[in-house]
């Protein structure tokens, strides 16, 4: 463990994609070298094309970059992409194609997993819109006011847990979490609108994104408390 041994993740997670750039890496087919346009399956030779490093999760699933997503559309898009790329539908294909389908369907699964959860989606969305690396595992940093509030809540929950049991503690925690989650959801539409506006108010948009980011951080702290209560029960 001394000489070798690997230390805990101190580094931010590698960004799998370069945000903002929605252009596909491939413009010609790797197999027949014909023009691909925007297609992930070559229109001439029907070979699947690798997603480039720069593809974002929205474009991988063929969805608009928005915070509000119709879950039915999301699932439909996911299934459609899975039909195209899943290795089980490419069993007899060449090695190169199998490699591509493995990598692509892994990304399709990751994209779906991220966008399906509204909080993970919002987190990813902020990084994407701001052109910053998505860092799913970074340690959250909270303003000291919020931190104090959470510390106090934690103490309160601990005493509730020991005197009245996990259900009471969960109820109390929910009373704090629910309004935050509501605020988060409410801001989704507002931000989508701001982004779609013909004349963008950049300052207002960046304020809204910062507020959303702050609420997400706070919620993820509370989520950890919730997990602890559930584990205790």
């Amino acid at each position: 463990m001394f000489e070798s041994g690997i230390s805990a993740k101190k580094m931010t997670s590698e960004n799998l994609l370069h945000p903002e750039s929605r252009e596909h890496s491939h413009s010609i087919c790797w197999n027949c070298e014909k023009n691909l346009g925007d297609e992930d399956v070559c229109p001439s030779c029907v070979r699947v094309q690798p997603f480039g490093e720069e593809r974002d999760y929205f474009s991988i699933l063929g969805l608009p970059v928005k915070l509000t997503l119709d879950p039915r559309l999301l699932v439909a898009a996911y299934h459609e992409r899975s039909r195209t790329f899943h290795p089980d539908h490419h069993v007899g294909d060449s090695e190169k194609e199998q490699e591509i389908t493995l990598a692509n369907s892994s990304l399709v699964n990751l994209a779906f997993r991220t966008l399906r959860d509204p909080f993970l989606r919002a987190h990813y969305f902020i990084g994407h819109v701001k052109g910053e690396p998505a860092r799913p595992n970074r340690k959250a940093t909270l303003p000291s006011g919020d931190l104090m509030e959470i510390m106090e809540l934690k103490e309160e929950l601990e005493s509730l847990l020991s005197t009245q049991g996990p259900q009471a503690a969960e109820l109390r925690l929910r009373s704090v979490m629910d309004p935050i989650e509501r605020d988060i959801f409410d801001s989704f539409e507002v931000i989508d609108h701001q982004l779609e506006a013909a004349e963008k108010d950049e300052a207002a948009l960046s304020r809204a994104l910062a507020t959303l980011a702050g609420r997400l951080e706070k919620r993820s702290y509370l989520q950890n408390l919730l997990r602890e209560i559930k584990e205790a029960s």
Binding site: E3, I6, A8, S13, E14, V91, N109, L110
Partner: protein
């Protein structure tokens, strides 16, 4: 491309083969006599090796070794099978740490995959006859709780039978596939598979031909046998006499069977009378009382369900239907509990004997490449990660992640100038590395000596559609790379399989004397084992000390003969021992004890997926 891929349910008691026809119909393929099931039984005798029904007929033939329930030995070490071996009446020996069954007639040993291969070979030829074409590819089902080694051993069995196993799928998933396809309904389904000793739960979303496993969970030590045990414990508390008798395992067996019978009877009645005259025990059990006894186990099953629902973010009311498979789901209290938890009707009309093979046939059809209308999206059942400083697990791919899946994360060094890192790959949900299962260890060396925390080491986990994990570590400045493909810790190596394939079933004529000796020794060992087991179980009330001594002396005499090379002598001493123990068997108090001595009885438990 036109490939014929069949689906196979390689069960503990029965096996089946199914095929999905061009028109979409799924059919379980019968043998020439029209029978769908094939007993998972292999009989070894002087005149040949029999499989299936013909093998089962030989159960009481003393000249034949009848191998059954070999699935319980599959992919496990000799040590791990200790509790299983106690219930199996054929000889099982320790061969390089793995269990093996001696075939005295051909002077060889059969490993569990080889036994499985004999059954698979039979199914394969059945399929070839029914479909009138060569069959070389298959999908085989295994219980969801099977670990990598058990899955690999099942695959090996396929290879030995000349089958390329395209995929191993879980039995509850297969059942759900068949059910979902058969019902023609879309929706979110909860699937319960409660066997004798294990419980599996899956949540499956079916939409327009896509079968998405949303979450799985389970308990490898929870099943119908726990219900029976709870009832037995209750009876033991009622009668001190019974409880002293129950120190003997055959009395326990008897009680367990009575408990099972009472449990089944209470599905249609509210009260049953139970009497064990031999023990002077008489009691009655009400349905309410029994329900109270089994409640902790029902609650444990439901807590697995809650965790799977939570993982997938689904409330119980979100399920559109509940599917029950596995023998123990017939238990009334369990059904009631499940129905009230989901508030949904239960589907238990599917034929549990056929449904698993049918589901395997559906996946086989998908993998044949003929059809792109269906797709199964499966998940990885346990979290995967690596060990970090302090022995802490860092998860890269959480459980219930849809596969294929890839995850990348950056790590760094801990000590200044560190040039190697150890990557320890783990599987499990526990915080500390030592509590999780170790899958592999490898080292990435050649890292440039830098201050601690400076190097960037990217670790990538890639799971393919078969669930095989590949881990790669790459130092980013130098591009130095190291990787490992996770192989199971047991099972056969590729080379072993090839060698076995060459050797398989083509043994040269062996010298007669050697064969006689091996034959006699094997039989002798069986009789010795049965005798020792019986001696341990009976007290002086049944077996007078003088008789016990005579038997022990003969055991020693036989052991001595076994050290020599005279096959005939071994056989004669065996017969003497057999004669000596005969009166003992007659004196034994109840039928269950004599069963233990005479050996060759098939277990009566039902269900092919136990």
């Amino acid at each position: 491309m036109n490939r014929t891929v069949v689906g196979i349910d390689l069960g503990t008691t029965h096996s089946l083969v199914a095929y999905r026809r061009e028109d979409g119909r799924v059919e379980v393929l019968p043998d020439r006599e029209g029978r769908l099931l094939l007993p998972s039984v292999v009989a070894l005798s002087r005149d040949g090796v029999r499989v299936g029904w013909n093998a089962r007929e030989r159960v009481n033939d003393p000249e034949t070794t009848v191998i059954y329930a070999a699935k319980r030995l599959m992919g496990r070490s000799f040590e791990e099978t200790e509790s299983e071996r106690r219930h199996l009446t054929y000889p099982i020996i320790d061969r390089n740490g793995s269990p093996a069954v001696p075939d005295p007639f051909r002077n060889r040993f059969l490993t569990p995959p080889e036994i499985g291969a004999l059954v698979l070979r039979e199914l394969r030829s059945r399929a070839e006859e029914a479909l009138s074409c060569e069959v070389t590819e298959a999908v085989i089902t295994v219980p969801a709780y099977f670990n990598d080694a058990q899955r690999q051993a099942t695959k090996d069995a396929g290879s030995l039978a000349g089958l390329n196993v395209l995929r191993i799928i879980n039995e509850p998933t297969a059942a759900a596939l068949a059910y979902g396809l058969g019902s023609g309904k879309d929706g979110l389904f909860a699937i319960f598979d409660l066997g004798g000793g294990t419980f599996d739960f899956s949540l499956l979303d079916i939409r327009k031909g896509i079968f998405e496993v949303r979450a799985t969970s389970g308990d490898t030590h929870l099943g119908g046998e726990d219900f029976d045990r709870a009832i037995v414990t209750e009876w033991l508390g009622e009668s001190p006499k019974l409880s002293s008798l129950a120190e003997r395992s055959e009395v326990r067996d008897l009680l367990r069977k009575e408990a099972e019978r009472a449990k089944i009877a209470l599905s249609s009645r509210t009260e049953v009378e139970v009497a064990i005259p031999a023990a002077g025990f008489r009691t009655s059990l009400t349905r309410d009382r029994m329900n109270a006894l089994v409640e902790p186990f029902v609650e444990r099953a439901l807590s697995c369900v809650r965790s799977a629902l939570a993982d997938s973010g689904t409330p119980p009311s979100g399920a559109d239907g509940v599917i029950l498979v596995g023998g123990s789901t017939r238990f009334l209290r369990f059904k009631e509990a499940v129905a009230s938890f989901f508030g949904k009707p239960l589907f238990d009309s599917v034929d549990p004997d056929l449904v698993v093979a049918e589901g395997a046939a559906v996946q086989a059809d998908i993998l044949s490449g003929r059809r792109k209308d269906l797709l199964l999206l499966d998940v990885t059942p346990l979290s995967l990660g690596i060990e970090t400083i302090g022995g802490v697990t860092s998860t890269l791919i959480p459980r219930n992640t849809t596969i294929p899946a890839q995850a990348k994360e950056l790590f760094t060094t801990y000590v200044d100038g560190q040039t190697n890192v150890d990557i320890h790959v783990l599987q499990g949900e526990r915080e500390m590395a030592q509590d999780n299962r170790s899958l592999a260890r490898f080292t990435l060396s050649g890292i440039p000596p830098l201050p601690a925390g400076t190097p960037r080491i990217e670790v990538t986990f890639q799971i393919d559609a078969n669930g095989i994990l590949e881990v790669t570590a790459r130092e980013q400045t130098t591009g130095k790379m190291s990787n490992v493909v996770i192989h199971p810790s047991y099972g056969l190596g590729k080379e072993d399989v090839r060698t076995l394939l060459k050797e398989a079933f083509s043994h040269a004529q062996e010298d007669f004397a050697t064969r006689l000796l091996v034959d006699a020794k094997t039989e002798a060992q069986t009789v010795i084992n049965a005798t020792i087991r019986a001696l341990e179980r009976v007290g002086s009330d049944i077996l007078p000390d003088a008789d016990r001594e005579a038997i022990s002396r003969q055991v020693e005499a036989l052991k001595k003969a076994m050290e020599g090379t005279d096959g005939r002598k071994v056989r004669d001493e065996t017969r003497l021992l057999d004669n000596l123990t005969q009166p003992l068997a007659e004196r034994l108090m109840n039928q269950s004890i004599s069963n233990a001595l005479s050996g060759m009885a098939l277990p009566k438990e039902g269900g092919s997926h136990a």
